[in-house]
């Protein structure tokens, strides 16, 4: 595949089948990610951002249905891989770090045992002694003392556990890491330290990263590109400085206005009245129509097309490109 970006997602749809309905969690999501990008996917709860991450990793629960026109990664089509092929990709090519490190680690095994498990998943011939050395070195890179290897998860703080998970995701030198709300449960200072480390690691290991978060502040701190999701749809995508400092979509504008900020003056913050639409119904017009304060009559029934303005993508009838 020539001239393909590092990762291309085109018209990704994910829905969850329920007893007598189906929730369309991700709707026709398309975006390109270049090598070395740190892409933030920002959205509120229920916007489908975590579902999308699970979809890329193909870790969706059995009742989920994934379809896409294109889902390619590093020149490979990753849409129709079978379980065996997927296993070869996970950890090695793409890895994922989840929000709740506590739940991602086994409570009854020492950290080393769990890390060794991941090592042997892809290179079974590494003896324990060498693995230990390797891990000590890796831990040094993310500010973890090597004694952590001999500890159980409950002995660690939230920040340390999250670091262990990040170390684990780095073991096989993947090309891409997805960070799913990794700093959400952490304290401000711990979050800041971790974000600094993520930024450094991405450079050091030559990674491409997707950072899923609900906090546009976090996006501004670490990402160079940002995708704004709402109710499963991508509404705006582009460079952080374009999207956050001069947003085009009414939803992004409202999101920025609802964010109290430490370093920006004392403007009144404003909420977005209304709530997320019912995701079991397909939307006819613009998905944000019911809550939009600049909506047109057109928006109710006609789905906006994606307007491309350079590398800034917007899905809104008011924007022509």
């Amino acid at each position: 595949m020539l001239n393909m970006p590092f990762m291309r997602l085109k018209k990704v749809d994910i829905s969850y089948k329920l007893e007598n309905a189906s929730v369309k969690a991700v709707r026709s999501f398309s975006c390109d990610i270049e090598k070395g990008d740190i892409v933030g996917i920002v959205g509120e709860s229920g916007s489908g951002k975590s579902t999308l991450a699970l979809g890329i990793m193909r870790l969706l629960p059995p009742n989920a249905l994934l379809s896409a026109e294109i889902m390619s990664f590093d020149g490979k089509n990753i849409l129709n891989l079978n379980q065996d092929e997927l296993r070869r990709i996970r950890w090695k090519e793409i890895s994922i770090v989840f929000q709740k490190a506590m739940n991602a680690l086994s409570p009854v095994h020492k950290i080393f045992t769990q890390m060794y498990d991941v090592i042997t998943a892809h290179s079974s011939d590494i003896p324990k002694g060498r693995a230990y050395k390797m891990l000590t070195e890796l831990f040094g890179k993310i500010n973890l003392p090597s004694k952590v290897l001999n500890m159980y998860p409950h002995e660690l703080s939230g920040g340390m556990m999250q670091r262990v998970m990040i170390a684990m995701s780095l073991i096989h030198n993947p090309k891409m890491i997805i960070f799913d709300e990794v700093t959400t449960a952490l304290d401000v200072i711990t979050q800041g330290q971790l974000l600094d480390e993520i930024k450094r690691l991405v450079k050091e290991f030559g990674l491409t990263a997707i950072i899923i978060t609900h906090d546009i502040g976090v996006v501004n701190e670490v990402c160079n590109k940002v995708a704004v999701m709402y109710a499963g749809e991508l509404l705006e995508y582009g460079r952080v400085k374009d999207v956050i400092f001069s947003p085009l979509h009414p939803y992004t504008k409202a999101l920025v206005k609802s964010h109290p900020d430490l370093r920006i003056g004392n403007e009144l913050i404003k909420g977005i009245p209304g709530s997320l639409p019912d995701l079991t119904y397909p939307s006819k017009g613009c998905i944000f129509y019911p809550r939009c304060d600049v909506r047109l009559d057109l928006c109710k029934d006609v789905k906006p097309k994606i307007s491309v303005l350079g590398d800034h993508i917007v899905k809104c009838h008011r924007i022509q490109g």
């Binding site: 711990t190 502040g217 109290p260 370093r263």
Partner: protein, 321 residues
């Protein structure tokens, strides 16, 4: 100005069992402050710093181990449950998770009406329902009948949190503790809840103790901010002053690590290492000394006194003269 609440040398120690000796978590240790009429005082700190304990002790949901609490001129420390009842109406609390603070088997109207009935507000049930309706219309929870007959689980977190605020405010309290009241809400909803709280404050002149871990939210909401770390006050000042001119190294770190959406990138980061400590039998000296990049000998042996460095700006740090 009228002083609504004053806490003097407040202490709350939790005993923990350790073999051979008794240890204490000094969750709130010698904290003094006061709240004026109509003032919002922010309590800012990371998890485990004792901010929630402080709120619970102030409202006498927990019994203090020492110190005095003056509320509307009365010393309420150590008074029994029955006497405390006289103050409950004037002292309300809003918690983080509204689903936990409503009885799941009561309709909203019942949850709102019962406390009014118990405190003899309104002449009849009809009258009380009228008052509730008016309040809901004013708080833009419209149409009111749409909410009143519902159960808590049928409402979204933001709606329910606003109703929980309304429930407190119907009692016209003089003092309100808001404990992380927007932490589980999405950005678009959070703004509405915060603005509603500000509106209540200006209408009823209620004093608010606003407990939060988010310095950006604290800046938006509060008149003054008190920073606490491991059960001790580090710094207290006017909100604007604290953020533009932080003196304590811990406050500096908190500000520096908070994510922001301001365009000026590449800020100088004030870095500190390590993570939050739990004050179990804390050693003498400053609680922050173990993480402070400037700690001197004296910081580990002597506890710093609160010093007033400019009118209303107090810091507990040996490094500041």
């Amino acid at each position: 100005m009228e002083r609504i609440l004053e806490a003097k040398r407040l202490k709350k120690y939790y005993p923990i069992r350790k073999i051979g000796r008794r240890s204490y978590v000094k969750a709130v240790d010698n904290i003094s402050f006061s709240v004026e009429k109509g003032e919002i005082l922010g309590i800012l700190g990371e998890s485990g710093c004792g901010k929630t304990t402080l709120g619970r002790v102030i409202t006498r949901l927990e019994t203090e181990n020492g110190g005095d609490i003056f509320f509307l001129g009365n010393n309420i420390s150590g008074i029994n449950y029955r006497k405390m009842k006289n103050f409950r109406q004037k002292m309300q609390v809003i918690f983080q998770n509204p689903y936990d603070s409503f009885d799941p088997r009561m309709t909203i109207i019942k949850s709102l009406e019962t406390p009014m009935k118990l405190l003899n507000i309104g002449q009849s049930k009809k009258n009380r329902i009228e008052i509730i309706r008016d309040a809901m219309e004013k708080a833009k929870l419209t149409p009111a009948y749409d909410y009143l007959e519902r159960y808590p689980h049928e409402l979204s977190g933001g709606q329910l949190q606003r109703i929980s605020m309304l429930r407190s405010m119907l009692l016209k309290p003089s003092f309100l503790v808001a404990d992380e009241c927007v932490s589980m809400l999405d950005a678009s909803v959070r703004a509405e809840v915060l603005n509603m709280l500000l509106q209540f404050r200006s209408e009823l002149e209620t004093s608010i103790l606003f407990i939060t871990h988010d310095i950006s939210v604290a800046k938006y909401m509060c008149d003054r901010i008190m920073v606490i770390y491991a059960g001790k006050v580090m710094e207290i000042a006017d909100a604007k002053e604290l953020i533009s001119n932080p003196m304590h190294p811990y406050t500096k770190a908190l500000i520096s690590y908070s994510p922001t959406i301001s365009p000026q990138k590449e800020r100088e980061r004030f870095t500190i290492a390590g993570e939050v400590v739990t004050p179990i039998d804390p050693p003498p000296g400053c609680r922050f000394a173990s993480r402070c990049p400037f700690a001197k000998g004296i910081c580990r042996t002597e506890e710093p006194e609160m010093k007033e460095i400019s009118p209303g700006h107090f810091v507990a740090c040996h490094l500041i003269d």
